[in-house]
């Protein structure tokens, strides 16, 4: 009689078995999992201070509970809509302009045949990413000041000087465009690697069918990186209210408050004045809830429209 070598395990052991089977992979994953657990999930319980009149001395367990007072304080501030509007304007501008450009750069780089030139362009475009925000804003201010380079060029062309940094209408553009300049190379890296992953045989097939380079890009490359684009797009939408405060704090001045003051800079100023941690936590939760809603929405829409989503 043949011995039955198949061992039937009860279902509940299959995860453990799975882990044992691939233990080296799970071992590599373990520190990351631990990191997220300890530094991201457990601290989430700290958001409870948004519902308290938090005092560092008393700590979480002894501080007074105030329910939704911090949230109401924030939402009933007459400046709330202005802050929200400014945040959304800057975010949307970043999305609409800043999202496609790294893709365009990656596509263009892909078309280069001279390898040395390609590498040169890649290096030059991603180097600005490493400039610190303080230095970056220093450069911006110097270039854009009334007696700076840009106005110098304008003067040479007979044009009057423009006050870039003190005109509120220009602020979102300067902020977004300088961000793009700084990060376009770095962001394009992920697309370059996605493009490299497109099957070469598809290009062969397209060439045989008579497609020129432009048509190849349109019908082979773009669809090939579509899923990467989708993932990054949804993630960027999920950050729509998270316009960081550091760069804006360095760039804004009283002439540009009306377009430059975003939620995070307002909370930074208020927090500095009063060390009101409960209030800052409440605004943080508000941001996260809005961001999460946008994330869910865009994921749902994308699934409906293209059948693909983040999850």
């Amino acid at each position: 009689m043949k011995k039955d070598n198949v061992v039937l395990l009860p279902k509940k052991h299959s995860l453990w078995r799975e882990i044992l089977k691939h233990k080296s992979i799970y071992l590599i994953f373990a520190p990351t999992l631990l990191f997220y657990l300890i530094f991201m999930y457990i601290p989430m319980f700290g958001t409870i201070i948004a519902f308290q009149d938090y005092s560092i001395r008393l700590g979480v367990f002894d501080s007074k509970w105030v329910g939704l007072e911090n949230f109401l304080d924030f939402l009933s501030n007459p400046k709330f809509f202005e802050l929200l509007r400014n945040t959304l304007v800057i975010s949307s501008l970043s999305l609409v302009i800043g999202f496609p450009l790294p893709i365009v750069l990656a596509l263009l780089l892909n078309e280069l045949s001279n390898l040395r030139f390609k590498k040169f362009v890649q290096t030059v475009t991603y180097m600005p990413h490493f400039i610190s925000t303080v230095v970056m804003v220093g450069i911006l201010t110097t270039f854009l000041s009334t007696d700076g380079v840009i106005n110098g060029v304008r003067a040479a062309l007979g044009l009057p000087a423009v006050q870039f940094m003190t005109t509120p209408e220009y602020f979102p553009w300067i902020y977004v465009l300088s961000n793009i300049w700084q990060n376009i190379g770095w962001s394009s890296i992920i697309y370059i690697s996605a493009i490299a992953g497109v099957d070469q045989e598809l290009y062969e097939a397209a060439r045989i069918d008579g497609a020129n380079r432009w048509k190849q890009m349109l019908y082979v490359t773009l669809p090939g990186i579509a899923s990467t684009m989708l993932v990054l797009f949804i993630m960027q939408v999920g950050n729509i209210l998270s316009v960081g405060h550091e760069k804006i704090l360095l760039m804004y001045n009283s002439a540009t408050y009306e377009t430059a003051d975003v939620i995070s800079t307002y909370v930074y100023r208020k927090g500095l004045l009063e060390s009101d941690y409960g209030y800052s936590a409440a605004v943080g939760i508000f941001n996260s809830v809005c961001n999460f809603t946008m994330l869910m929405l865009s994921n749902a829409i994308s699934k409906k429209v293209s059948g693909q989503g983040l999850w």
């Binding site: 560092i56 007459p78 110097t142 000041s145 009334t146 003190t166 009283s254 002439a255 208020k270 009063e274």
Partner: protein, 528 residues
């Protein structure tokens, strides 16, 4: 107060210990000392733990903690009280402070410039600090100082008379004056102009600076009137409005507190500034100038008139014999700079709720206000760091300016004298400070201090926690709105005729509520 374990250990037990200690010491010789009434003198403690961040200049000079600074070494010797210093770097001071108070055991004394922004009544309730005023009987020197300087005492005290924290004090009026209008005297001389004494004369001087090439390089690159910011008491160009009897923030008018944007004097003031700006007499980049750019314009012979700080490196560099920067006397003495009224420095220090011997801690802190303490903190050791010449204390020139360890004079001062860093409760003396200034620096401060009449500037008001809660949002919105409109009018983007609309909008933002709170506090201030 309910009798929880926390209250027991933090409040009741230390109180019992302190009373027992006092009774043991005082019982021998004192009479009439009822329990709880601190009339005995207590004793200087042998040991205290003090948390106090270390300033960057002292660190640069090689100090590892405050104990390496000369003044504290002298006091340790003279009092016999050995201090355990905990000195984080001042750059991470606030962070470390928050960690400290979230922890379990507090040091005896905390020195951190946070107390004026906190609700110290709440801190007392939560056991974080104990009020200094509870131990005033152990502090005869401080008491004397407050009695002899009622103006300063007013700023130390809360409206109910209590003192929750001790800052350093500016012993003389000149010490509050460290910023003021400055002009290139050599340019005035070159163009044959007199020092301006009113806004019309200033206009003519600025126009001459702009058009007559006083820096002599053939290019019209002079910036007649430079600055950093508009409505900023330090370097802001908006300070000119003071000459019109008004201010871009809150000030005193006819015995009440009001806001400049609500008053009619603001109209001609802003008209003047707008005129200057439109004729190119004001630096077009005044809002985006940062420290570096502002200084560079001065050092590059471009700025003719500006509000500058003293002491400063550019005064040093520029006053080299060919060029001359001098202080300009305030026009008609009109000055609304709140800082001129501020007799307090930094170094806000409290006795914590965990201190086992608060009376002793108070005694140690009091030493800094004693005659010996004041000498130690301002001049150091007689015969070594200073000498007595004709009855006056004179810093040893070589020690400060030709230091044997190769340190710069600033570093020497900050690692030796608290009168330099003003970051611990003590009394800063003009007698000391003036010696560290260059002659033109001293001259500038004397010009500003003797010509200014800041009696209508906003005094240091104190607010209750409820008041602060009520107006903090509104104040923030009002300040950003005023800042924007003020600069918009100067730059010509809005017109002076918009002032009525601005007044309306300020009311919408809650200005009347804010004024009420300010005036209530002002009444309390006057009655202190």
């Amino acid at each position: 107060m309910k009798l929880s374990f926390k209250v027991l250990t933090k409040r009741v037990l230390p109180a019992i210990l302190a009373v027992t200690l006092m009774a043991t010491v005082g019982g021998c010789s004192k009479k009439g000392g009822e329990k709880g009434e601190n009339v005995s003198t207590g004793t200087m403690p042998k040991n205290l733990t003090v948390w106090a961040p270390l300033g960057s200049l002292a660190a640069k000079a090689g100090a590892n903690d405050r104990g390496d600074i000369l003044a504290y070494k002298i006091i340790e010797e003279q009092t016999g009280c050995v201090i355990d210093w905990i000195s984080p770097s001042s750059a991470e001071g606030l962070e470390k402070f928050n960690l400290l108070i979230a922890g379990d055991k507090l040091p005896d004394i905390i020195c951190a410039d946070v107390w004026s922004g906190r609700d110290t009544y709440r801190d007392i309730e939560e056991g974080l600090i104990v009020p200094i005023s509870d131990y005033l009987d152990y502090m005869p020197n401080l008491k004397k100082f407050l009695e002899e300087n009622p103006d300063v005492a007013k700023q130390f005290r809360n409206d109910d008379g209590s003192i929750h924290y001790l800052p350093s004090a500016r012993g003389d009026e000149e010490l509050t004056v460290f910023v003021g209008p400055t002009i290139r005297k050599d340019w005035l001389d070159k163009l044959g102009l007199e020092m301006p004494t009113n806004t019309d004369e200033l206009y003519n001087v600025l126009k001459a600076f702009k058009t007559q090439d006083p820096n002599g390089n053939g290019k019209q690159d002079e910036i007649a009137f430079s600055g950093m910011g508009g409505d900023s008491w330090s370097y802001g160009i908006g300070n000119i409005v003071w000459a019109y009897d008004t201010h871009y923030s809150f000030f005193v008018k006819d015995g009440k507190i009001t806001h400049g944007m609500l008053e009619e004097e603001m109209k001609p003031a802003l008209e003047y500034l707008a005129k200057l700006y439109s004729e190119g007499l004001i630096d077009p980049d005044y809002l985006i100038n940062d420290d570096e750019k502002y200084k560079a314009k001065i050092l590059n012979d471009r700025s003719g008139f500006f509000f500058g700080i003293q002491p400063s490196s550019y005064y040093l560099t520029l006053n080299d014999g060919t060029k001359e920067l001098v202080g300009v006397p305030y026009f008609d003495g009109k000055c609304y700079n709140e800082q001129y009224l501020n007799r307090l420095g930094g170094g806000q220090t409290v006795i914590t709720g965990d201190c086992k011997d608060p009376a002793g801690a108070a005694m140690w802190l009091d030493y800094f206000f004693s005659p010996e303490g004041i000498i130690a903190t301002n001049f150091g050791i007689e015969g070594e760091t200073h000498n007595v010449v004709d009855g006056k204390r004179v810093l040893d020139h070589d020690y400060v300016f030709n230091n044997p360890d190769g340190l710069e004079s600033k570093e020497v001062c900050h690692s030796s004298f608290i009168g330099a860093s003003t970051d611990f409760p003590s009394v800063q003396l003009w007698e000391y400070y003036s010696q560290t200034l260059q002659p033109w620096g001293k001259a500038a401060i004397e010009v500003w201090s003797s010509s200014a009449n800041p009696e209508n500037a906003l005094p240091k008001l104190k607010f209750t926690a409820e008041e602060k809660d009520l107006i903090s949002d509104e104040l923030e919105n009002i300040n950003t709105y005023v800042s924007t409109q003020f600069n918009n009018i100067i730059m010509g983007r809005a017109s002076v005729n918009d002032l009525d609309k601005i007044k309306e909008e300020l009311d919408n933002l809650g200005m009347q509520d804010v004024l009420k709170v300010y005036n209530d506090s002002y009444v309390r201030y006057l009655n202190k």
